[in-house]
Amino acid sequence: MNIHEYQAKELLRRAGVPVQPGEVAETAAAAEAIAARYGTAVVIKAQVHAGGRGKAGGVKLAKTPVEARAHAERIIGMSIKGLVVQRVLVAQAADIASESYVGIIVDRVSKRPVVMVSPAGGIDIEEVAATTPERIRRVAVDPRYGLQPFEAMQCGFFLYRDLHRARAAARILRQLYEAFMDSGASLAEINPLVSTPAGELVAVDAKISIDDNELDRHPELAALRDETAEAPSETEARKANLTFIKLEGNVGCVVNGAGLAMATMDLVKYYGGEPANFLDIGGSSNPEKVVNALRIITSDPQVRVILFNIFGGITRTDDVANGIVTAIRQHPLRVPLVIRLTGTNEEEAVRILAGAGLSAMTDMDEAVRAAVAQVGAETAA
């Protein structure tokens, strides 16, 4: 789960990290009032879960409160990568002498949290890694001991030559590490970490992603979720305990298991179709899940055919069949349905489907071809 910049900065502030002062505004008038109160130049920053905000015109410097109001008016309501900006952060503009990057991720190779720092701040760290990898220093932290002072100091001196700023950076790294571990994050970064002409360090932008699996442990962080920042179908799917990702195609897919769901999408593409979504109904079968899945998929106007691919193990195929029949009774389908199911209680499932005038296939390859052919036939007609 991604949280907004202003939320990430609040977590860092609580951990002791020096953060550029700023407040959130949902209206242009509120932005003007904040700027007037600060009495300094401010930066108006769109709060959306998308990179490249600056390039999209979502970050603007304002020298006066009136200018702040004008920028906020334009930014609030604008669309960045399909996401509508609901609020802006009004932050005091920092005097910048230099910019660094500091961040922590969970690294699957070392199987540890890895601290990364680079004096090349203010740009995407993946770009730095690709072009000038020698400008990044990595420390794989043993989580049983935590980030040690000497490790943090090595990073501090990699960023700054003078003891004052190296120490300050080391302190910030240890605070960032604490915030990372305490919030169950999968990513926490400050980019840029700004050094002012006076030699003080301040976090000017921050990003934190929380591991979804930690949210039950951290209800206060789960409450930070901004549903206006996600596709409505994905919000609905999450509430129904389905894993759903909307894509651009027209073959709707309902599958049990993530690996099989990906393989199904790949096979749709192989036969010349385009998947409309990734959807995993999960292991434990429950007719209600199938009803929800069908509702979410059919609400996408692009979908021209719906393909079920169910390999029954823990999932009982008769439960899935019951779900399909119930869903269709509630909301008759306006697109063709292709069903492949095999495995646990298959005979019963076929009987249930036949009772509703539906048939099922047992072969995955055949079913995917049939689904893609439906779209082709419709387009040709």
């Binding site: 699957r108 199987k111 989580p143 699996n213 298991g257 690996g259 390999f311 823990i314």
Partner: protein, 315 residues
């Protein structure tokens, strides 16, 4: 022969009285697995089971240490909720259980950063979490892989997925390719056993003559495994990679199935596998024909003996 589990496996079930634990314990007993103990705190002294499949009731203990001492269990399978899984794994490792299989999905990845070194320091092998477990057809099943789709035979199978594994096992069995052992290593970013651990075990297992590896987007485990195959394996390996159509930056169900930047894409993995002499099926159904071709070629030409594999101490 087989890898990791066989007729001598004496299995403990952590979370035996839970909904999933009890259901799958019955299935494992019916398959013929020797389930010797269960663990549920507070239910020590009770028993599980109704004598189904002529199996005696399974004694339940409060702790893994008690269960291990009383029954001599040498493997455990974990079905506890996600926020308790890390502790359950460490409890098993601390009790000296050498094989720990964690089925639980949704274990926080930071928990796993602590669990992994703990398990390794105790000399145990962890399979999973977020995995379907493993099965040696006709002999022993640990986890949730449906027994009826498997058949005994010479193929080793290792996979990061659950139902996609079933799909491919089913196709292998229907085509007459039985299996020595099928292992699901799980779809999480940090897991206890990786492809290389399984490939080197299959290479060392005399009954296994060829291996199927099923990977997916995210990380570099498949690429590392491919290099291992070209350096250290004499047996033919064929592959499948799921997620060719996955968009970058999105988590495709499995926590580990995410493309970061340019790394972890299906295209990259297919390329590295192919370069390492591992043919990759475009469709699941292609895996069977590739396997048939490779096995025919392997027995005809006799690949040069590979260098001995480096033994990895996996957690």
């Amino acid at each position: 022969m087989s890898i990791f589990i066989d007729g001598n496996t004496r299995l403990m079930v952590q979370g035996i009285t839970g909904r999933d634990g009890s259901f799958h314990t019955r299935q494992m007993i019916e398959y013929g697995t020797a389930v010797v103990a269960g663990v549920t705190p507070g239910k020590g002294g009770q028993t599980f089971g109704d004598g189904a499949a002529d199996a005696p009731p399974v004694p339940i203990f409060n702790t893994v240490a008690d269960a291990a001492e009383a029954t001599g269990a040498n493997a455990t399978v974990i079905y506890v909720p996600p926020l308790f899984a890390a502790d359950a794994i460490m409890e098993a490792a601390a009790a000296g259980i050498p094989l720990i299989v964690c089925i639980t999905e949704g274990v926080p990845v930071l928990d796993m950063t602590r669990v992994y070194p703990f398990v390794r320091d105790h000399g145990a092998r962890l399979i999973g979490p977020n995995c379907p477990g493993l099965i040696t057809p006709g002999v022993c099943k640990v986890g949730i892989i449906p027994g009826r789709i498997c058949a005994p035979g010479p193929i080793g199978l290792v996979s990061r997925s659950g139902t996609l594994t079933y799909e491919l096992v089913d196709q292998l069995t229907r085509a007459g390719f039985g299996q020595t052992t099928c292992v699901g290593i799980g779809g999480d970013p940090i897991n206890g056993t990786n492809f290389i651990d399984c490939l080197s075990a299959f290479e060392a297992d005399p009954a296994t003559t060829a291996v199927v590896m099923i990977g997916e987007i995210g990380g570099t485990d498949e690429q590392d495994a491919a290099r291992f195959v070209s350096m250290h394996m004499s047996k033919p390996v064929v592959g499948f990679i799921a997620g060719r159509t996955a968009p970058p930056g999105r988590r495709m169900g499995h926590a580990g199935a995410i493309i970061s930047g340019a790394t972890g894409t299906a295209a990259e993995k297919v390329h590295v596998l192919a370069e390492s002499g591992i043919p990759v099926g475009d469709r699941p159904v292609d895996v069977v024909s590739l396997l048939r071709t490779r096995m025919a070629a392997g027995s005809a030409t006799g690949k040069a003996p590979a260098r001995p594999a480096v033994q990895r101490s996996a957690g």
